[in-house]
Assembly symmetry: C2
Homo-oligomer: 192 residues x 2
Amino acid sequence: MHEILFNFISKYITITEEEKKAIISLGVFKSEKKGSILLKEGQFSNESFFVLKGCLRSYYIIKGEEKTTSFHTEMTAINALNQTSEKNIACVENSIVLVSNPELEIKMFEKFPKFESLCRILSEEVLNKQQIDFDLFKILSPEERYLNILKTKPDLIQRVPQHQLASFIGVKPQSLSRIRSRITAKEKTSIR
Amino acid sequence: MHEILFNFISKYITITEEEKKAIISLGVFKSEKKGSILLKEGQFSNESFFVLKGCLRSYYIIKGEEKTTSFHTEMTAINALNQTSEKNIACVENSIVLVSNPELEIKMFEKFPKFESLCRILSEEVLNKQQIDFDLFKILSPEERYLNILKTKPDLIQRVPQHQLASFIGVKPQSLSRIRSRITAKEKTSIR
């Protein structure tokens, strides 16, 4: 599992055997079962969660109903820094997660400054991507949001429960079923 | 104007006179008139825009209509890195903007490594904040979004045209008028 992380890091910076050992020695890798909750509404949090394997979901409970706001699969991160969390974070699948916090990072940066470069580059990349996702969510209709997932992240549709996916694109499960039927019907028409 | 930036930076890192001169010498400060366009849909961009004074707006043109997705006031940034832009960025007010790009930043980091720390910290902060904003947008109704702006950023309501604000919270201008009337009516009732 460590190798997956080191391969990912190698895309951004060179990493020596010493540095790999330093990362492993931190003991920040956690194996979590499907359904387990990493963060609960009302808890104080100063952590970031980087997904090595599996899928996390963030959701809010609004008037007794779960509202899913994001999914995080391999090589993506979700932060809950310096806040009493209003959201919940749970595992949609059995997951392996790197759990970090600012104090730990600062210690690492002092010893290995290039990890600060890595975190800077990754944060900027994620920020850029997240800004585009945020914009897309605002300008697309629910059907277009679903089509966008089909195009950019088709595996997600198989990996998460349909009611959570419906909530994520901002509709009721019945509406998601209708959206899927419409898309299937269009595909059939275009094949004929 | 430089002093505003240096005061802001001082909250995160110590900054020497030499470093201040280095920043000024980059020539990255641009004065832009209200209405001027910093980035147009279809242009390739690898820049980030940090607002020192004024207000920027990002918007998309969907079926001939402008759809506002974000406003950026003092000490906030908007990135358009390594992409053929699908959005437009324009000045809502006369603005002073620090326009940067990755190549320029790398040169600065080589000379003054602590600027990399600054960019890392700022990116993580913005990412954290943006994730919360994204979640809030998804879980709030348009009226709640407006109330949230009233609470967290009341000056924005005076600073930007109402039709842009309506688009930003996801409604037609007439609906925003109705939302404002309802809120005023509620306030009157609660005073009585």
